[in-house]
């Protein structure tokens, strides 16, 4: 993979930050960050996934509005994921910036965000009135299916990161 001077300059700067020094300065930081990142992923996937399954009609017997309350946990988990993710990047920038799996993961994250925005813009008001056994509109189901696909994409790419490390990363 070809190295970019601008990217390298940014990576060099990142390595001078106190955050990078903290992440690389103690042997226990990285394992703890990984554990927190996985916990956050679990909460995010569980709360958003549960809501998506309800919209898809695979889980019924509860109103989407009642399940929507759990998404607050999902939002909190997303922030934990983001913070730990930034800490990973500050500690081993080359591993991420020169990694096609990470680039694809970033694309899936953007798609997840855009999909969520689309849901709140177009569908949220409509699903608020649905009863426990009502079907969500087809457009809401499509958004829920896309949400699940993008989330699995994030997980897959996250897991593949290690196997797509650039050769010059140590």
């Amino acid at each position: 993979m070809e190295r970019w001077p601008v990217m390298d300059a940014f990576i060099d700067w990142l390595y001078t930050t106190p955050l990078s020094a903290f992440v690389n300065g103690y042997p226990w930081v990285w394992p703890i960050l990984e554990s927190l990142h996985f916990c956050a992923l679990t909460v995010l996937a569980g709360t958003v996934g549960l809501f998506d399954l309800r919209l898809l009609g695979l889980v019924k017997g509860i109103t989407p509005a009642a399940l929507h309350t759990t998404l607050r946990w999902g939002v909190a988990a997303f922030f934990v994921s983001a913070i730990t993710g930034v800490m990973f990047i500050s500690g081993a920038s080359e591993q991420y910036f020169y990694n096609n799996a990470f680039r694809l993961k970033a694309v899936f994250l953007v798609l997840m965000g855009a999909n969520a925005a689309l849901f709140y813009w177009r569908e949220f008001a409509g699903i608020q009135t649905l009863g426990p056994r009502d079907d969500a509109p087809r457009s809401a189901k499509l958004i829920a299916a896309a949400s699940l696909v993008f989330m699995v994409g994030v997980m897959l790419c996250g897991r593949m990161l290690t196997f797509f490390r650039p050769p010059f990363f140590h």
Binding site: P31, E34, S35, F38, C39, L41, T42, V43, L44, A45, G46, T47, G49, L50, L53, L58, V59, K60, G61, I62, T63, A66, L67, T69, T70, R72, W73, P132, M151, V152, M155, L156, G158, R159, M160, T162, F163
Partner: protein, 167 residues
């Protein structure tokens, strides 16, 4: 014991998972383990969060949720066995691995208890979230957190990676 683990490492499955350059070997099985975690622990945590965030439960029935979780458990168990076959000594000589199994066992027991509690709660009228349901949901959150920490720390706490290297 070490000889037995070394024999497992020499099996065709173990060698393929560990040494194959294919992304469908170790990387994809690792991904399946994460997917199973999201389906089992993730959905379980979603239910826990839902319970802990409410004072009253609306009428509901959620049989399909358990099907998703059991499917996740199946994926995790299968992928876990294959990952164990790849590096048996790494896990079986590390107490953290057994702690992880213990946490999973208790978390599954708690899930069964919670399922019973929710079945009682699900009726036709709104009712209070019972104290027992809250305690079970909290225990579930803590147990899955402990499981995830144990799973991640396995990579950093093992003393032996391959039994066959020491023979």
């Amino acid at each position: 014991m070490i000889e037995l683990l070394a024999n497992v490492e020499r099996s065709a499955l173990s060698v393929w998972v560990r040494e194959s350059p294919s992304l469908l070997a170790f990387p994809f099985i690792l991904f399946l383990h994460t997917l199973g975690l999201a389906m089992l622990a993730g959905i379980n945590v979603g239910v826990d969060a839902w319970l802990l965030g409410r004072r009253k439960l609306p009428p509901f029935e959620l049989p399909n949720i358990y099907r998703v979780m059991w499917l996740g458990l199946g994926i995790n168990a299968l992928s876990g066995v294959v990952l164990l076959a790849a590096y048996p000594a790494k896990a079986l000589t590390n107490w953290v691995f057994f702690a992880k199994l213990l946490f999973i066992g208790i978390a599954l027991w708690v899930l069964q208890q919670l399922k019973g509690e929710l079945a009682v709660a699900g009726g036709t009228a709104e009712r209070d979230v019972s104290g027992r349901a809250r305690r079970l949901a909290l225990a579930s959150l803590l147990l899955w957190t402990a499981t995830i920490f144990a799973g991640r720390l396995l990579a950093y706490t093992h003393h032996i990676l391959l039994a066959s290297e020491g023979l």
